[in-house]
Symmetry: C2
Amino acid sequence: VATIHDVAKRSAVSAATVSRFMRGERVRREDAVRQAIAELGYRPAAAARSLRSGVHYAIAVVVPDVTNPFFAAVVKGMESVLRGGPYSLFLANTDESSELERDVIAHLLGRVDGIVLAPATEHDDNPQRLVAAGLPVVFVDRDLVDGPVDSVLVDNIGGARLAARHLLQLGHRDVAIISGPLNTTPGRERYEGFVNELTGSGVDIAKRYIEMSDFRESGGYSSMLRLLALPERPSAVFCANNLMSIGALKALDDMRVDVPAEMSVIGFDDLDLAPLMRSPLTVIDRPSVEQGAIAARMMLNLLADPAPHRPQRVVLPVQLLQRASTSAPSRKTTSRSSHVPGLPAGSAR
Amino acid sequence: VATIHDVAKRSAVSAATVSRFMRGERVRREDAVRQAIAELGYRPAAAARSLRSGVHYAIAVVVPDVTNPFFAAVVKGMESVLRGGPYSLFLANTDESSELERDVIAHLLGRVDGIVLAPATEHDDNPQRLVAAGLPVVFVDRDLVDGPVDSVLVDNIGGARLAARHLLQLGHRDVAIISGPLNTTPGRERYEGFVNELTGSGVDIAKRYIEMSDFRESGGYSSMLRLLALPERPSAVFCANNLMSIGALKALDDMRVDVPAEMSVIGFDDLDLAPLMRSPLTVIDRPSVEQGAIAARMMLNLLADPAPHRPQRVVLPVQLLQRASTSAPSRKTTSRSSHVPGLPAGSAR
DNA sequence: GTGAAAGCGCTAACAT
DNA sequence: ATGTTAGCGCTTTCAC
């Protein structure tokens, strides 16, 4: 374990010169220093460097669930940008819990130069304290009601409206939603977008068709079970994220409910395996890898120029990927609203 | 940004006393210290602590691909064990590349107290240097040919044999494999197990039915395309991991090849969506979350007692999950080996 | 361009 | 049980 002084001695310069060489400055005895470093296998002690200079050459990305392919993709995008640069990427997980998030962030403080964060809730004060403490923070996928903050998001409202409109066009009137937590950005926005598009088209959504869930597969599963237990089932359902879509589809499968004949399903977030499913899932798709890449670039900018600035908010577009899990309702539905303006009821595709 | 001296002054003790309080020792002016810490919002500077004491209270897990659900599950398992304890978990990605692995490890050195590693290759010298440098290392899913090292693995050979036997029992004789890289533990072991079980049963596997791939979805896809382009297609294929199974199935789907009627497929590693697939995938399943949990516990033990010890090697069992993607070959196959000892040819299930 | 010296915030030895 | 002292390895003035 060689120190900078060992290198200095061996190459007959001072420690300061070695330090300058390390940071890329031109040095007279450059070759000698380089050789000494190689021979001794010298690696600067990160802790000493951090302590003295205050920089860590590390960025953290904190997400609610590494198991969620969407967040895995975001991480991939960040890595592709950070690769080759001086910053390492650390990944931490909060399991959708504000308390865990607090602990995780506490462990991160003083170890990283910036945090890319998908906060557990919009009302979290953990992130605010970070921003207040002057640590660069970029929000990804989710941000705070209190904003404004630097963030890269997607058009959740537009996507949810797209989903609603798609179901309406197919002729559905008894429509359900399995929603994420309303205290998260995507949970709230997708809920509001979906419901507003429905009511704006003169189609009310029954309270019993609104399932508040948790963005987890298990949550989607039990929510769908509840919907299926209703005396009058809905003819279509919108699942507000990928994991809940999977859970809902499993419940449908277990209960032998045919998709889309008996129940149309549309999800938010694409599934890698969607094309191979018995009933390939129709989804609202969004650029996930790119979301991570943009977040990483924003962080790099923040790090390069820490001066106060007008917070930047990037919103990426979404698109409808129509597959086979949605179709016109087959059986007669008890339409509580007879007319959708501009949409001939029952028109498919 | 309060230091330990600020706390010391405010609570009228020395810095050393505050330090002792922080590490849990009993202190006379305990309440005063606690209060000062709260009022000042004191957080020990991790860098200073690390520099002085040499401990970081951090563990890294380094995997080839965070996007792979298997590794995501391993990480989950580690987190569940580490949660609540003093150690943070950092996750890093190597993209199946030894060079990237070297860089990643270099960045980790001097920042973490131990590394849980799934090395890119078995012949890697990166890990060996870590072990030699005295940094606690636990190998997960993959280890080194040079061993012995602490590791938690699964019974790859047994699993691959199980897969082969399953196909043989169904009556397949023209059997293909889409293998992972032979310079990785699971790549090599699954290949050897599969081929040995076949040849041991008197069934040779044709060279053209052996596809060497890369554990990636794209690799599985193009390998399957090549198998399908053969003048005499195999009637069954074993995919050595989850991602390649997905790729292979997508190729089959794109080429309109019916599974299992025209091609039986068995994979290694379960897929979350398997039950919802048009042809639910038969797989060799293994405990993935538990693998991570065990690795974390081994690391904790290493950290608690760094004394030299006999390397421990845990091997977890696997099981066959039979679904619908495997069946007896339908069309007459050009059997190059007529008799399998003990197995009535063509007997299914 | 280079070296000497100081010190980042903490903990470990030693003394009390 | 507590304070004093020293120093972990590095970067950064400040002189030259």
